[in-house]
């Protein structure tokens, strides 16, 4: 045991929730109590915040005897520290509360446990009276890896992202730079449009499957919550969250999450990610997407790199938003260089008005706005053999229902292009120049449209 005092800011790595922290309190009649904290959050050099969830006895003890001790552990070295605490107050709103609530909601959503079960009742703020090392002496042979130089890394990242001038290339450059510069090899970029209830997968890195065409509902899962609340969410130990979620679920008698609806393209993902971050991409207060990162290493994302993630997200958002404006060509479509489809059996393509989904050869392709775009292109091609299109004409086509303002058309086209490429449907959409694209089909098309009598009927009267 070391009796030397330790500065709280020097052990922030212990305060990221990677390893659960036992908290001891004591009643006024001298009976101790222990509970495990998911997160002991660093507030400043003198204070920490503890989540108040299930811990009735802890709350009662602190009310009558406001002293406590918590044991925190460095996830890289397993060095342990005892913090002697004095309770100050409980917060039920404000930035600390909101941040911890978003994290817990994300864990609840990730584990399939209802948010009411994981509900954050408050955040107890404690003053750290003393901080000292306990347990084994530090092992100099087991120090953590050399820390990243954040300024150098951000400079590299910004330069690589800035070298490209179209959405697809920027998305690719950003995802690749996340791996090369920061060592985050698994990432997904999702797009968002004004007023939309869903995010859509645009591009991904580090997975065998494609994210293009996958959708995430606002408010659901880490990604949906980060988008809905415009708040960065990091979960530093998903393995522990899964175990905890299973325990809670078992006790609460809850069933696992639903099996998912048909006509869904799943987001790619690691089988058992250990930590993850969902970074909302916001420009001028408007959500343009989410950058989702996951790692097979616990603690890869957490308070130690939240600022870095926010800067990375802010830069990607600004670059992508800049590309979305002022790049439409007003020129007529370029001359059609495409060869005519090979003669043969027609490719049956069906469009369902009810959800704007498109099927090719019986296989689901895409739905929603990208589905409407694809259907427009295919219809015009079938009518007169046209293959050249511009972003501008899509943007001006009211029938597509693109939202005013941030329509994120470029992201939708990237998603559509990548989905067509990944699915090998015999249909391709190629970018031929800034704001211009060419439709390629390998066979003659046999198009059919299934009308709807449901709520979407009015949208298709044109």
């Amino acid at each position: 045991m070391s009796t030397s005092p330790i500065a709280l800011e020097s052990i922030q790595r212990c305060l990221e929730g990677v390893i659960p922290s036992p908290l001891a309190t004591c009643s006024a009649d001298g009976v101790p109590n222990i509970t495990y904290m998911s997160v002991v959050r660093y507030v400043d050099a003198e204070r920490v915040a503890l989540s108040r969830q299930f811990f009735r006895k802890t709350a009662a003890n602190v009310d009558e005897n406001p002293v406590a001790q918590v044991l925190v552990v460095d996830p890289d070295t397993l060095d342990q520290y005892a913090l002697d605490l004095r309770y100050l107050h409980t917060e039920t709103e404000g930035p600390i509360f909101d941040s911890m609530r978003a994290n817990l909601d994300a864990v609840a959503s990730h584990t399939g446990v209802g948010r009411d079960v994981f509900r954050l009742r408050g955040v107890d703020v404690h003053r750290v009276v003393a901080c000292r090392r306990v347990g084994r002496d530090p092992d100099p042979g087991r120090r953590r890896d050399h820390a990243l130089d954040p300024l150098r890394a951000l400079d590299d990242f910004a330069r690589r992202v800035g070298e490209s001038d179209d959405y697809d290339a920027v998305a690719h450059a950003a995802l690749q730079a996340l791996e090369d510069v920061f060592g985050w090899p698994h990432a997904i970029l999702l797009g968002a449009a004004a007023g939309a209830e869903r995010l859509f997968g645009v591009a991904s890195n580090g997975y065998p499957g494609s994210s293009a065409g996958a959708e995430v509902t606002l408010g659901e899962g880490m990604i949906g919550l980060a988008a809905q609340r415009r708040r960065l969410i990091c979960v530093s130990n998903l393995a522990r969250s899964r175990v905890m979620g299973s325990a809670v679920q078992e006790r609460a008698g809850r069933a696992a999450g639903d099996a998912g609806a048909p006509r869904e393209i799943p987001l790619p993902g690691l089988d058992r990610p250990q930590s993850a971050a969902a970074v909302p991409l916001v420009v001028h207060g408007e959500l343009v997407g989410v950058l989702y990162l996951e790692s097979d290493r616990p603690g890869a994302f957490g308070p130690h790199n939240e600022r870095l993630l926010r800067i990375v997200g802010g830069h990607v958002a600004a670059v992508l938003a800049g590309l979305a404006h002022g790049h439409d060509t007003a020129d007529a479509p370029a001359a059609d260089p495409a060869p005519a489809p090979r003669p043969g059996d027609a490719l049956e393509v069906t469009y369902y008005q009810a959800d704007d989904s498109v099927f090719a050869g019986g296989d689901y392709v895409i739905k929603g706005v990208p589905g409407r775009i694809l259907w427009k292109l295919l219809r015009e091609h079938a009518a007169d053999g046209r293959t050249a299109f511009t972003n501008r004409e899509l943007r001006l086509d009211e029938g597509l229902g693109l939202p005013a303002g941030n329509d994120n058309l470029e992201a939708r086209l990237v998603a559509l292009r990548r989905r067509l490429a990944a699915g090998d449907f015999g249909i391709a959409l190629e970018r031929v120049a800034r704001g211009r694209m060419a439709l390629r089909v390998q066979q003659p098309l046999a198009l059919s449209e299934v009308p709807t009598s449901g709520p979407m009927r009015a949208a298709h009267r044109r």
Partner: protein, 160 residues
């Protein structure tokens, strides 16, 4: 047989059913009711039930050692890392003595199983054995008065 698989007569077998790789943490108060924490190992349930014996990390000069030596109140949690199932017992320290060589070997065995458990929930294997500091262990027997279900969820804190 795991030391935790021995029978108990007052329900302490709930602790045994958590498995052999449990994380054990104890808390004791000082005379000013300030709590202190320490890790503990090699838990055993006494045959007549009602008692738990643990090897507690309690270095000379530490608040934990001082508290134990005056036979204070004690709480101990038993948590299985891979399931999060948890039990807390509360009672009073009955006996304290330095851990024997045999007990220290049992502590090492317990730690080996515990290491496998924590690696499964993401603790790096290269450091997973560093939870244990076995330099100064005290063997502590506790008369258990109360027992609680600590598994996270709405029922957490319910008396067993």
């Amino acid at each position: 047989m795991s030391p935790l698989e021995q029978p108990a007569t007052i329900g302490l077998d709930v602790v045994a059913r958590l498995g052999a790789g449990v994380a054990v943490v104890v808390a004791t108060p000082d005379l000013e009711l300030r709590p202190t924490l320490a890790r503990a190992w090699h838990p055993r349930i006494d045959a007549d039930g009602g008692r738990v014996t643990l090897c507690v990390e309690a270095p000379a000069g530490s608040p934990m050692r001082a508290n134990l030596e005056r036979r204070c109140a004690l709480a101990a949690t038993f948590v299985r890392p891979t399931t999060y199932r948890s039990v807390q017992v509360k009672g009073t320290v009955r006996d304290v003595c330095p851990s024997t060589a045999e007990e220290r070997r049992a502590v090492a065995d317990h730690n080996a199983i515990f290491v496998d458990e924590v690696i499964e929930v993401g603790v790096p294997a290269r450091v997973a054995d560093r939870f244990l500091d076995d330099r100064e262990l005290l063997t502590v027997t506790v008369d258990v008065r109360e027992m609680y279900d600590q598994t996270p969820g709405p029922a957490a804190g319910g008396r067993l």
